[in-house]
Symmetry: C2
Subunit: 312 residues, 2 copies
């Protein structure tokens, strides 16, 4: 018999959904007992329970990001799976909501209305524009598919994968610094929009730096729905303040919640949201858990396993 503990601020909702699913060979525990072998919940809460669970075999995160569980001093003798495949829709709506709002000039039209000014100057369009995607996993692939729907050109930066058919041109990291710099320039110079869905890894750390930002056209917009660690924050502030790019839309930050003293709150043309681009909706996440539970119960390999070394 498998013993499951749910560790989440929305544990009651998850508990009800799991009870309704009548999963085979499963007991739901209510507190930390030594024979629990499955955890399901938020990474920070899972981390807190690790030391008390000698029998732990598997932990399912309800989020995509599992940073609290990755440090080298953490236990790694269990299978860690994260939530994947459920955030693409929301993040795509986020990215295209912001891009369209910019192109059709929602803000300018609202200003004109305040002044009772019939402002019928031309608006923009996504059609024919180029979107440069940093990261083309399951989320990036959804964004790429939407970009194609809107008749855009799609550049994709990945470590090596070229699996997404909606990407027109792929870019991969180079082994020498010189060629990497050239690659970043070629990737960025045609981009009307730069969108990062990169996870937090050693390889992505401050990848979006002054070099990359300065290669973008001045009318470009940068959107970050991946991780804040991928951005050199000072370089981004400089680029925005000096009008080297038109706007940035940031949903993620090095430190969250962002301290009120951080310059981002008042940086010119910087639009903040609050790690809200892809809510972990219980009705989505529960399906990830159930699918993996049935595999776990049959001793089969789980989906969305996290590689502790790679970090995703």
């Amino acid at each position: 018999m498998n013993k499951l503990l749910i560790l989440s601020s929305r544990a009651a909702e998850y508990r009800t959904m799991i009870e309704k699913a009548h999963l085979p060979n499963l007991t739901l525990e209510h507190s930390l007992t030594s024979n629990i072998n499955i955890l399901f919940g938020e990474p920070a809460l899972i981390k807190g329970a690790l030391a008390s669970l000698p029998a732990l075999g598997w932990a399912q995160s309800i989020w995509a990001g599992v940073e609290p569980l990755l440090g080298a001093d953490n236990r790694r003798d269990y299978i860690l799976t994260n939530a994947r495949g459920v955030f693409g829709t929301s993040m795509t709506e986020y990215v295209f909501g912001h891009l369209l709002a910019h192109e059709i000039k929602i803000k300018r039209h609202a200003q004109a209305q305040l002044h009772k000014h019939w402002d019928n100057s031309y608006t923009g369009t996504l059609r024919g524009k180029t979107i440069a995607l940093l990261g083309v996993g399951s989320i990036g692939a959804e964004v790429a598919r939407a970009a194609k729907f809107f008749n855009m050109t799609v550049y994709g930066y990945t470590r090596e994968s070229e699996a997404c058919k909606y990407v027109d041109k792929y870019f991969h990291p180079s082994t020498t610094l010189e060629s990497f710099s050239l690659l970043k320039e070629n990737f960025a110079k045609d981009a009307d929009y730069l969108v990062s869905v990169l996870p937090n890894t050693i390889e992505t750390r401050k990848l979006i730096n002054a070099d990359l930002l300065s290669a973008l056209p001045h009318h470009a917009i940068f959107i970050n729905v991946g991780r804040g660690s991928a951005v050199d924050e000072s370089a981004l502030i400089n680029a925005l303040e000096q009008n080297k790019l038109a706007a940035a839309v940031l949903d993620v930050f090095e430190q969250e919640p962002l301290p009120t003293t951080h310059p981002f709150w008042t940086t010119k043309n910087l639009h903040m949201t609050y790690h809200t681009s892809a809510p972990s909706l219980p009705e989505d996440i529960i399906n990830v858990f159930i699918e993996n539970y049935l595999l776990f119960n049959e001793g089969k390999p789980l989906k969305h396993q996290v590689d502790f070394e790679r970090g995703y």
Copy 2:
């Protein structure tokens, strides 16, 4: 030899493009001369030239709306074609830009940023929502296709056509007032979003009235990218002021530009734009003209002919 006169505020651009196309059997005229048989331009300018052109065989409007040419006192002994098939992309971007901005709460997040408030409350999604489309011609069909891309349910109200495969459920006008009222209620009651792309005809006049608006759920959003005449403006103001619907986004009005004395400028939750949802871009419109010219030159039936009686 066909003789063409261009009547448009952007005549120079059109002239250059037509010269480049080297169309067979065509002379470009520079002023009103009696042997001109083709006009290409804005409806109001075409109207002004009608009396001087006994040889007129065909007029191509650069806009979709041709109201100035429809009155019963206007000449009708020529073929009138309008611009169609080129506005769907822009109008779709407009509709989904506004719907997404609402769902992902762009405005609320901007307010939170002003107050340095980390507002990570849940945002919405288009997924699973129902869009009720008034009019499913070439533009409505594009909007319906995008709605399916975003995993929505699509209702379509048309006179009789059921040609668009992206519509899940069709509604058609009924012959009795009672059944028409019931139909409007059934069409509206499930609608999260009501979107009108209706042209200005006798049948569409004030179709969006108090009855239809009151059948909508209170969280609904109404978007009008068709014609202002389809809306009972007082009924819409009442519905918005009394919170019977969440918001309206209007690109078209009974009178344009909207007089500064009109209550719409300051109506609660009413977002105005300025007949900008589908710019007539010369690079698009020229293709409509060229395609029709080649048909005209070979004596074949033209595309997008306007029925003077129906009005579109």
